[in-house]
Symmetry: C2
Subunit: 191 residues, 2 copies
DNA sequence: AGCATTTATTGACGATCGTCAATGATATTT
DNA sequence: AAATATCATTGACGATCGTCAATAAATGCT
C-alpha cells in the first residue's frame, strides 16, 4: 500500500531506490473503519497523514455543532495544522467518513526525511505551495460566494465529493444548516 | 529604506554583505499615495511587495461591492496570489489605505535570489509557513466565528488595525455591511 | 475657520437563514 | 423481510442581516 504514496511523490520528482526504501521502512500504513478519529480536538498531534483510499473530513466543534472545513480524498495529505511550529492542542478533529487506509507520517520521520534527502525539501515545498493555493481558494470562496454558489461549484468541479459525502456534512461545509442545503438543492432543481 | 526589508530578513537568518548588497541593488523602493493600486483585478502580476511603512488592503470586487480580505501593515509581505504557479489574471486588487512606501520584488529577482543564495530558500520557506498559518487562522475564524466575534478578536489582538482602517473596510473584512458593523459596535458598548 | 466631502449612525422594511418539529425516505441490522 | 436507526425534506416562526434613505459626525481642503 505504501506504493500509492511512493508513486504519488515519484510523479512530482522521481525517487531513488534508497529514498523509496526509506519510506517503506518508516511509514506505517493503517486501516480505519468508518467514523474513526485520526485526530481529536485538544489532542497534541505529532503526525500527519496521506489518504491511500477512503476519505476523511476535518471539522471544528462550535457550540456543540460540528462544522466541517475540509474533505480529504485519495492522494491527499491531511495536514496537521500548525505542524510547522510548536506543538499545541488541536483546535479541530479529523475523522474518517468511509473505511479508509492511511499512511502515517510522524513528525520525527518527516524531519529525518528532510535532513537525509534534499529532494524532500523540494517535495515539502511543492506540497506546501499546493496547500497555500487551496487555502487561498477557500478564503476567496468564503468572501466572494454564498452557500448556493459554493454548492454549485462543488457540483461542477468536485462531483466525487457530492457523491460520497453525506449531505449534512456538505451543508456545514458550504456554510449552512442541513435544512437550508436541502432547500437550496430544491431551488436548483426548480431552475 | 531598503534597510527595513534587510533587517527584517536578517532577523530570521543573518544575511551576508553580499546578500545585502544584492538586495540593495535589485529591489526598488517606491512611494504610493493613499488609495493607489499596487495591483488591479484582471491584471497579471509579475511582482510582489513588502510594506516598509503605511498599509494596504487586498479586496475582491463582488457584484460591484468591494470586500476586503486582508490588511497588510509594516513588515508584511503582500503576496501575489498564485505567484508560485503560472501567471494568471488576478482575481483581486491591492490598494494602499495610507500613503505608503513599499519594496517591490519582481518574480525575476525572487528567482535569482533563490538560485544565487541558498539562504533565500530557507527564508522563502519560513515566509510561506507564516503565510500558511495566517491562512489557517483566517479559515478557522470564518467557520467558527461570527462577525461580532471577529470584530472583538480584532479589538483585542489587532488594535492597530482598528485604529488605522476605516470602519467600512473593517465591516467587509469581518463579513458584514458597514451598517451592521455600526450596530455591532453599539451592542458591544451597551454590554 | 468655514465649506465640502467622506464616513458613521440610525430607522424601517423585506428577505434569508437557523431552529424546532414532523414526516418521508434511505440504510443498516437482526 | 421486518424493524430500527440514520438521513433528507418540508413547514412554520422568529431572529438577524442587507438595503435604502435620512441624518449626524468627522475629515479634508482652501
Amino acid at each position: 500500500m505504501i506504493q500509492h504514496l511512493i508513486s504519488f511523490l515519484d510523479s512530482y520528482s522521481p525517487l531513488s531506490r534508497e529514498e523509496k526504501e526509506y519510506l517503506e521502512a518508516h511509514i506505517p500504513i493503517q486501516s480505519f473503519s468508518k467514523n474513526e478519529f485520526l485526530l481529536k480536538q485538544d489532542e497534541i498531534s505529532n503526525r500527519f497523514f496521506f489518504i491511500i483510499n477512503g476519505c476523511a473530513r476535518m471539522f471544528y466543534t462550535v457550540d456543540g455543532m460540528e462544522k466541517t472545513a475540509f474533505f480529504y480524498m485519495e492522494k491527499d495529505f491531511v495536514s496537521a495544522y500548525e505542524r510547522f511550529t510548536k506543538q499545541v492542542p488541536s483546535k479541530h478533529s479529523i475523522q474518517t467518513i468511509e473505511k479508509s487506509t492511511v499512511a502515517i507520517i510522524s513528525v520525527e520521520t518527516a524531519q529525518n526525511l528532510l535532513q537525509r534527502f534534499p529532494k524532500f525539501e523540494y517535495l515539502a515545498r511543492v506540497m506546501m505551495e499546493n496547500e497555500l493555493i487551496i487555502y487561498q481558494n477557500i478564503i476567496s470562496s468564503f468572501i466572494t460566494q454564498n452557500a448556493e454558489q459554493r454548492y454549485l461549484h462543488l457540483l461542477k468541479h468536485r462531483p466525487d465529493i457530492i457523491q460520497r459525502i453525506p449531505q449534512y456534512h456538505l451543508a456545514t461545509y458550504v456554510g449552512v444548516s442541513p435544512e437550508t442545503l436541502s432547500r437550496i438543492r430544491k431551488r436548483i432543481l426548480m431552475a
